[in-house]
């Protein structure tokens, strides 16, 4: 079932509560009353069409908003992706790290095992952060420059015809970080002896699944919407340059 503007925002959460962090990312908070999606978006000055495409892409992975989403300004998409990054770095990863630290107080767990888990998570954390930083420092500024060049009609001298960074480099960088998260889940599910009191273990696992789902959606948006969008801009700029 697709989420549409006439639905009550409260019903959207009843339909899929995993959407909450996504909705928060738009600055929207709980306490919707009887207001519809459209009304809530208006209250928070959120672009309704953009909001609907993002939540539907997350809600149904087979939903592919090709035509629609690509018509939004790249800047708007990047803003959203950056908020997602902040959520991972400032909220989700520290939260999971905190849960893993709490395991050390668990007396019926082998401290060496906790250490192994902690080290593995730390290395995952730094890989994900490195990946995110690359996007923030190289990819997004590059896209914003492209967008500006197209708006102002200015001809770019060094992009994208030179040896500079083009979007193709970016596509290749995905994947590796995903495998590590996949491994982390399996290590906990299959191989790490669980303490008798497994509540904390369950929470950690649950958080990892949620993080994975969120990351997959993030990558989905980047690969299927952002990359084609940028490729199109690159082509337009090359064309503008050759016409000159």
């Amino acid at each position: 079932m697709l989420i549409n503007k006439e639905m009550k925002m409260a019903d959207v959460i009843h339909l899929n509560h995993h959407l909450l962090p996504i909705i928060n990312r738009f600055g929207i908070q709980l306490g919707f009353g009887e207001r519809t999606v459209q009304e809530v978006c208006k209250d928070y000055a959120v672009n309704l069409d953009f909001f609907l495409e993002i939540v539907n892409t997350f809600h149904d992975p087979s939903y592919f908003p090709l035509r629609h989403l690509r018509s939004f300004a790249p800047g708007m998409l990047i803003d959203y992706l950056q908020k997602t990054h902040l959520y991972y770095l400032k909220i989700k990863l520290p939260e999971i790290a905190q849960y893993i630290r709490q395991l050390t107080t668990n007396t019926d767990m082998d401290p060496n095992h906790v250490q192994l888990l902690q080290d593995f998570f730390t290395s995952y954390e730094s890989e994900l952060s490195a990946h995110i930083n690359r996007e923030e420092q190289r990819v997004y500024p590059y896209i914003r420059t492209l967008e500006k060049a197209l708006q102002t009609g200015a001809v770019m001298t060094d992009y994208p015809t030179s040896e500079a960074y083009t979007i193709h480099h970016y596509e290749e960088e995905h994947d590796d970080v995903e495998s590590k998260l996949f491994d982390l889940k399996n290590i906990i599910i299959k191989y790490l002896p669980s303490p008798v009191e497994s509540r904390l273990f369950n929470i950690i696992l649950h958080e990892l699944f949620e993080l994975e789902k969120d990351l997959n959606n993030h990558a989905h948006i980047e690969d299927l919407i952002l990359v084609p969008m940028v490729e199109k801009m690159e082509k337009e700029l090359i064309k503008a340059k050759s016409n000159q």
């Binding site: 290395s123 590590k180 399996n186 191989y191």
Partner: protein, 207 residues
């Protein structure tokens, strides 16, 4: 495991969708070619779909005589499952390898499908159970210690290509893809000690 190609000959959309749902819950990858009209030339449809399993409504197959079990175009045997109800004649039933009573409850349908898939594929192979062979254990140990494919190949007198094949199998059996993940597995299962790891790290740093 290889994907199972199924050809479904049944006019009812609901039945076809129901079958797909049930098959999806069996946890075996499959793809289903659907045919919703009466088939006069079965051989022609088979040549196109190349199915391992045909699931068909007996009334929708007009050809008489035995179904073709082998086709020059297919490198596998073709099995037939009949979608039958209380009215289906015994003579029609006899042409099929398996029968699926369409009015049965969900549990019996799932069991029946499981039996059919097992009969076609055989029991789940050892490669799916997660037990590593002696060779794989020894290679895993070397991977965990940070050795490259060619290092491992040299030490065990096998080609780097063979090492790669073993690595793929290890990853599939354990569900662990990265070197650091495999290292954690090796330590948890006491294949290597943490101290060994630090030694090999130093070794690497010296190189």
């Amino acid at each position: 495991m290889a994907r199972l190609n199924i050809l479904c000959i049944e006019s009812s959309f609901l039945l076809r969708e129901g079958l797909k749902t049930l098959l999806g819950q069996m946890g075996k990858p499959f793809s289903m070619e659907e045919c919703d009209v009466v088939v006069d030339d079965l051989a022609k449809v088979l040549r196109k779909a190349k199915p391992q399993l045909v699931i068909a409504n007996p009334d929708m197959l007009t050809a008489i005589g035995a179904f073709p079990r082998e086709m020059p175009e297919c490198d596998h045997r073709i099995f037939y499952t009949g979608l039958v109800n209380e009215q289906t004649a015994d003579k029609a039933k006899a042409r099929f390898d398996f029968l699926l009573p369409v009015h049965a409850d969900k549990l019996s349908l799932s069991r029946r499908l499981e039996e059919i898939l097992t009969a076609i594929f055989g029991k789940t192979a050892d490669s799916e159970t997660g037990t590593l062979s002696e060779r794989e254990l020894s290679i895993l140990k070397h991977i965990a210690l940070g050795l490259t494919n060619s290092d491992i190949g040299e030490q065990l007198f096998i080609s780097p290509h063979t090492v790669m094949t073993h690595r793929k199998n290890i990853t599939r059996k354990l569900g662990i893809k990265t070197v650091s993940g495999l290292t954690v597995y090796a330590i948890l299962n006491k294949l290597i000690k943490v101290e060994e790891l630090q030694v090999s790290d130093r070794h690497e740093a010296q190189l």
